[in-house]
Symmetry: C2
């Protein structure tokens, strides 16, 4: 569909990681998992990640640690999966779900039953045990009908929801329901970033492996220690430091180019 | 194809312009004019434009003025059209071509004969008189076969090429041929931006109408005046000011959010 395969590109290529990510997403479109809008969202992410230097910054690491603590402390955690997450990190979403004993829920912005089913099947092909979303039986208040669809036992009843790459309206609606919301969003100024309890300003392909390690590492910590990590976490400060990281990377890049 | 129409969105919506742009591009994909990669490129542009505040900045205005002067002074100007330009600004490309007496040439990154033909037809449907690209008979040196295809009487023989949204390799190859290259690129740090003679760091949907007015306005100026505009233009300085505009918009945005 107009995008070449990576077979010709050596892993040493400076843009290998971003080309690989792009290829996975195009594959997602071809498999009916990712919507066309997901490609545009991917492009937005690419540009912002480029501004971050394509690394997990110290504020992102701090957010990932707080996210791991929240997920470990949660009584009814749920991991939400959209078309981009399904294309980019299906194995990792399933792995994280298993490690924290959480179900997954398919939750896409432009909902079609067909696409929901394909994503659920895709996750099951990676070993997912409990996947909600195909037969929603509840509504998130404040969203219109198609956007608000949710499942009892899944997102509707969760106390902590991990919603990477989420839309601002839905993120706000979940927060209004009293849930703690963990998101991954490369735009530290977005409504999603500003509304969430913990915002990981990182590429989802780096954030998920990091979260999986952290959950493994921190799984043995005492509850009081985890609570302390959550209590001392300041999302606003983390977002500010993320913006600062972008500004300083941009300035640094520019000065190399001036030489 | 998973993207809603704008019919429901009022023009007063804060993101109306960017939603409209997005819709045009998705339409381009559906018509076989724009490739999937074009959607990702659009997303990158959206994020960068957001960082610019979605306005034509003073350095972009200066670049547009220099671009208009170069195009007016050119002996054999050519306007290159790719899948995104064809979807977003077909009428404007045709209009600009007519105003400066230049042919158009279809020049796409992931070339398929079918897509080239569709883009050429699309441009002709807006009244384009001379469209090269369907039967390339020359090669830009230093590019591989498919990427290097060009037409005599078109890009191959041009002294000034307007290549909005161009790839870095091809931009460099055109400059190496001794051409003066005018581009539109929202990333002031990209290889295309750094290589071109004049880089307009602006959204193509704003840059084209601006160029059309400027060409109209400046068309009556004496050649010596136009030469002076070109001679005093410093692309490096314009790029630096564009980066500064992004940094300052980003910081400003962040401080509003902190209140």
């Amino acid at each position: 569909m107009g995008v070449p395969l990576l077979s010709d590109v050596p892993p040493s290529h400076p843009r290998y990681a971003s080309l690989l990510t792009r290829e996975k997403l195009v594959e997602g479109v071809e498999r009916g998992i990712t919507g066309l809008n997901g490609l545009i969202a991917q492009g937005r992410g690419e540009a912002l990640d480029y501004l971050l230097g394509e690394v997990t910054t110290p504020p992102a690491e701090e957010a990932e640690r707080a996210a791991a603590a929240l997920l470990l402390l949660a009584e009814r955690p749920v991991l939400s999966v959209n078309g981009n997450a399904a294309a980019l990190v299906p194995r990792e979403m399933v792995d994280l779900a298993r490690k924290i004993g959480a179900p997954l829920e398919v939750n896409i912005f432009y909902r079609t039953e067909e696409r929901v089913r394909r994503i659920a099947d895709h996750l099951r092909s990676f070993g997912a045990e409990e996947v909600f979303g195909e037969t929603p039986d509840a509504s998130v208040p404040g969203l219109d009908h198609a956007r608000g669809k949710a499942s009892r036992g899944g997102i509707f009843d969760a106390d902590v929801v991990f919603v990477p790459l989420e839309d601002g309206d839905r993120c706000e609606a979940l927060v209004r329901m009293g849930k703690r919301v963990v998101t991954v969003d490369l735009n530290p100024l977005s409504r999603t970033a500003r509304t969430s309890t913990v915002t990981i300003v990182d590429n989802v392909v780096r954030a998920l492996p990091n979260l999986i390690s952290l959950v493994g590492e921190m799984g043995g910590q005492r509850e009081a220690e985890l609570r302390e990590i959550v209590a001392s976490y300041d999302n606003r400060a983390v977002l500010r430091r993320s913006v600062e990281a972008m500004v300083s990377h941009l300035s640094r890049q520019f000065s190399t180019f001036e030489e």
